[in-house]
Amino acid sequence: MRLHWKIQFSKVPINEIILFREDMTQSDKTILEVQHLSNQYDDQPLLQNVSFSLMQGEILCLLGPSGSGKTTLLRIIAGLETDISGSITFRGQDICKIPPHKRKFGMMFQEYALFPHRTVWQNVAFGLEMQKTGKENQDRKIRAMLELVRLSGFEHRKIDELSGGERQRVALARSLAPEPQLLLLDEPLGSLDRTLRDRLTREIRTILKTLNVTAVFVTHDQAEAFSVADKIAVLHTGCLQQFSTPEKIYRTPANKVVARFLGFRNFIQGELDDRNIFRSSLGKFELVSQSKTNQGPCTLLLRPDGARLSTSHDDSAFTHKMSGTVESRQFQGSSYNMVIRTAEYSLAFDLPLDPHPPVEGDRIELALLPSALVLMP
Amino acid sequence: MKRLLVVAASSLLLMMSMITTVHAEKTITVMTHDSFNVSKEVVANFEKESGITLRFLKSGDAGAALIQAILSKGNPLADLFFGVDNTFLSRALDADIFEPYASPLLADIPAHLQLDKENRLLPVDYGDVCLNIDKEWFAKNKRTPPTDIADLIKPEYKALTVVENPATSSPGMAFLLATIGRFGEDGYLDFWKGLRENKVIVANGWEDAYYGHFTSASKGDRPIVVSYASSPPAVVYYSEKKLTEAPTKAVVTAHSAFRQIEFVGILKGTKEPEHARKVVDFMLSVPFQEDIPLQMFVFPANSNATLPEVFVKYAVLADQPAVVSPEAIENNREAWIEAWTNTVLR
């Protein structure tokens, strides 16, 4: 099995695969709009009042732990779940009443759901058959698609003769072949191993971007979400926690739930005064970048990437200081993962390899980047 | 699942052990048909007196049981066979599976029942196959019930009759024979043609005709059915509430019924001919014969047997049943049935 595969653009006549529609090129136009969406199962709310919108050509990641409602949301957009309240409009049209097979959306399933009684070719052909595309046109598209996912020569293989990675590529080709207006991907890389996943994530993004396909991608893996998405919607227990770009979500998680899901643990209790000064047992921090000025007791997140060893010739950006004892030091390759004990907290930071951080039990002085201090609501 | 398997396996073992049970030495097996019945007490008394253990082997309907007896000729399944009737008598005798035995009790049995002069088959019981009518229905609809089978083709009895298929039912065959006896080989098909035009229903079996179509016994719509002359006492005997009058009536006017006689015989190849004879004597003796009416609802062959009250009151016998000889039956059975089928069904 070839683990590495790359699109060779020279070989693939992209224009032949996707016949660009005029509106598809307008990337600033809102294409999908979800408003006040709720859904219940056995009186248990699965989704509560979810709203967001998506532009043409964007890749949206629905990110959340299992049970957060992300797959349900995807299936609702697909039309596979219909018991909902709220509205979903696509290109300005309410699609709630349109059955899934008439929405012209594509979907890639968790275990691929390839048709076991059909060959690779017949699987990819299925959507085109349903569209009643002419035979010649159909053959050309399938061939191009298989080439795009580098499965030329696999046309007549049976599904049970394929490896996991090959199945994944057949599934992608199958969902792309009918030129969906919107591609939905339900944890498409879930069952593959890490290395393969990292590679495929990037490849999927490249393919989607090349074809200018608008896509919704469900995952529970934040790394995957960061590398594939233009926008991320973080879901937790059926509520939309934050909807933004990957960068913004990482830099300023909207709340503790999002922050925790991203792996952040450094939450400091303290008090904010009217001059935007945060006081806690760690000391005084002036919060410059925060626009919010909720006075009174509040929680501050110290992002783990926002710290450096405090030295005499300090970089002016790292203005805030704090100190503690090294509880543990873990070598991570590109950085050290430090757990630092202060009077009240045990805080985790990632420090660069140089300057060399002190060993366990030693005293440590840290300088913090003000932008890495995020006030939690 | 596992527990289920254990239960199943142990029940299997139990079954297996039942097969291998060795029978007592003086066991006499009586092969018979589904409808055979006898009281526990009568059998128990006989077993006590004679020291013979009786074992009954039911082998399907009368026809099927006889064929099994014929097929196992030479290595018989049983010592005796009960249930050959006069429609099958010739076939049974031709197959040469019975041993002659002139039981002293034959003296008590009317000569007209003793169809086999060599006494290979001895008459045990008899009954008449005839029309049964639903008295209530006729009273309610203010109509006169038929008194003769010839009446059935009259317009006033249109769509009122259900008969059995002679190809699949023993009373059906008997009734066909009654019509042959009555109208002769030349005339019976005309009668049946008339009956067909009169919208007769043909059922494949007695159960279906009686419980499926007869107004008196079921939710059927036919107040006239081909059944036995002894059916009315059975209806009274098995009524849900006490009845003082039979709700049905048998039509036994001259040449309107066919008499079925059932025989018993000792199977050739029995290892216990002595005991088998004792069992034949028992079946012809008064205790067994007096048990017959209420167990099988037919008349005992032995004229010394006293009839139960319900029989005396409600059962009738044809004075002059239609007659067809057993030989003629065996020789023409297929042709008659074929002709009947062509006339009535096709």
Partner: protein, 551 residues
């Protein structure tokens, strides 16, 4: 290694093979030989009518026609039912499932009684229609018509399709359905292009069983169809029992066997060729509650249909068993337990239940054991040969019971096989009919297990037995259960073989029912209905319990 495998597989298969040879081929061949070569008449004379008379051609045509129509109708009606059982949860599901098995165990006469009390000229519906609409003639007149026994065939075989296809359908990945929809296929296109092809092994297995059942239909056609309709099986009975024309009966049996064998062979080849694996890596999703209006309507419509088709005749029967001349009564049930009949053949209801259940459990054990061994063998046999074995194993189903019964009489007559009058013949005969059923239930599931899974298990160091026990058995557990349930019910409802060797104390429930129906009188009929109701309730509760445990 390979040599050893072959040896192992054949030694597994030897038991079912021995069983078939002893209790099927040997008796059958012997009765054929006797019929054709030892009769007094020269057989061609007795057989000449087979060709000269158009009757037999017509019978063969009618038999095939009605079987095909019955099969088609059953499939059309039962497939939606199989779908809702596979995909949805609804109130009373396990009870419904148990109830659908009841028709399967009802003796024909009882079924006929049930249908008549519902649809007959004086049945519930006609009486109601006549009184409410003031009609002088009953509006429904299907008694003794072809529709009546087609309806009865659907009634009998509905559960076959429901169970076999339903359990298979439940194992289908529901995402395949969604995937097809997402690719633009309408529900109907999805069914036709995706679901149906994937269901094909189970659908064709079920269809084949239904077809053979209807092809060899005896009681249903005899009673409900009336005398104008005759199947080959009816004709075999008539020729052998009524006319004592054994050569003709044997020839007809042979025709019946050959036709069915060809059919089964074609079927086996089709199923083996279209061998498709869709073993889902993840356990398939649990059945869901119907949510949308459409789904709810679909589920309810199906349940309503089941209620009409299956439950109303049973209810009519139940009603009949408690209705006396003056309305409701328990007299028949009381009489069952306190009868004054002194007959030596009288069996207490409890004893009859015990006999029935005992025979059924034994037959089930034999059938499941043999079926499991035979399926394992067939599944591992390469294509061409496996279809032949598959078809051979199905033969007992296609064989006339009368012919085989007579075969037993003339062949199993010397020790150590002197079984012809032994009650062991009852579970053996039942198992012979039930065993092909079990194979039909298990084989499709067994074939779905991908080779890779077994290989993986043996690479992990599992012995062949362990692979079978730990990997295959758990996967086909449900199929075994379905097969077992069928084997059990076939035995519970069987009358022919039980009646062949009835002894005073071993009467089963169907035998007891027949005993009552053999004599006139209100009490007899009432007790037959009461006994039928008990049979109904006993089977229903057994299946309900099994279903509960299963869930």
């Amino acid at each position: 290694m390979k040599q050893k495998n072959i040896l192992l597989r054949w030694s597994l298969f030897s038991l079912p093979l021995l069983f078939l040879v002893l209790f099927y081929f040997y008796p059958l061949i012997k009765i054929f030989l006797l019929s054709f070569f030892q009769g007094d008449d020269w057989p061609p004379e007795k057989l000449s009518r087979l060709i000269s008379s158009p009757v037999y051609g017509k019978i063969l045509w009618f038999t095939t026609w009605q079987a095909a129509v019955s099969t088609l109708l059953t499939l059309v009606f039962a497939l939606p039912g199989a779908y809702i059982f596979a995909r949805y949860n609804f109130f009373g599901k396990s009870l419904f499932q148990a109830l659908t098995m009841v028709p399967f165990v009802l003796p024909t006469v009882v079924t006929a009684a049930a249908f008549r009390s519902l649809l007959g000229p004086n049945g519930l519906i006609n009486t109601w229609a006549m009184t409410t609409c003031n009609l002088s003639l009953p509006p429904i007149q299907i008694d003794q018509t072809v529709f009546f026994f087609l309806l009865a065939h659907i009634f009998y075989n509905y559960t076959l399709v429901l169970r076999i296809v339903g359990s298979f359908w439940a194992a289908l990945d529901p995402n395949l359905h969604s995937a097809s929809q997402m690719l633009g296929a309408s529900p109907w296109q999805t069914f036709r292009k995706i679901t149906l092809p994937l269901l094909m092994p189970a659908v064709s297995s079920a269809a084949l069983l239904v077809f053979i059942f209807c092809f060899t239909s005896f009681g249903v056609v005899l009673i409900l169809g009336g005398p104008s309709y005759s199947t080959i099986e009816v004709e075999i009975y008539r020729q052998s029992v009524q006319l004592f024309n054994l050569p003709m009966a044997a020839a007809l049996s042979l025709i019946q066997i050959v036709v069915n064998f060809l059919l089964m062979w074609i079927h086996a080849r089709l199923v083996a060729h279209s061998r498709i694996s869709f073993y889902a890596d993840t356990p398939t999703t649990m059945p869901i509650q119907a949510k949308t209006k459409g789904q709810r309507f679909f589920v309810r419509a199906n349940l309503f249909f089941m209620l009409i088709l299956l439950i109303t005749p049973l209810l009519a029967l139940l009603l009949r068993s408690v209705t006396g001349e003056d309305g409701l009564t328990l007299a028949y049930y009381r009489a069952l337990f306190t009868t004054e009949s002194h007959s030596i053949f009288f069996v207490e209801p409890l004893a009859a239940i015990g006999n029935s259940v005992g025979f059924a459990l034994s037959a089930m054990t034999i059938a499941v054991t043999l079926g499991l061994l035979a399926s394992s063998f067939i599944a591992s046999e390469p294509g061409g040969k496996s279809s032949l074995w598959d078809a051979i194993i199905m033969l007992p189903l296609a064989t006339s019971a009368v012919t085989l019964g007579f075969g037993y009489i003339i062949s199993l007559n010397t020790p150590p096989l002197n079984l012809r009058d032994s009650i062991a013949l009852v579970p053996i005969a039942h198992a012979l009919v039930a065993f092909p059923f079990v194979v039909r239930c298990i084989l499709p599931s067994l074939r779905q297990i991908p080779e890779s899974l077994k290989e993986a298990a043996s690479l992990l160091g599992a012995s062949p037995f362990k692979v079978w026990h730990r990997v295959e058995l758990p996967i086909i557990r449900r199929a075994i259960l379905v097969g077992g349930v069928f084997a059990f019910s076939i035995s519970m409802g069987e009358f022919g073989a039980s009646a062949f060797v009835t002894r005073p104390h071993t009467a089963t429930m169907p035998v007891a029912i027949f005993r009552f129906l053999g004599q006139p009188g209100e009490m007899n009929y009432g007790q037959a209905m009461a006994m039928s109701s008990i049979l109904m309730m006993v089977t229903c509760s057994v299946f309900w319990l099994i279903g509960k445990r299963d869930n």
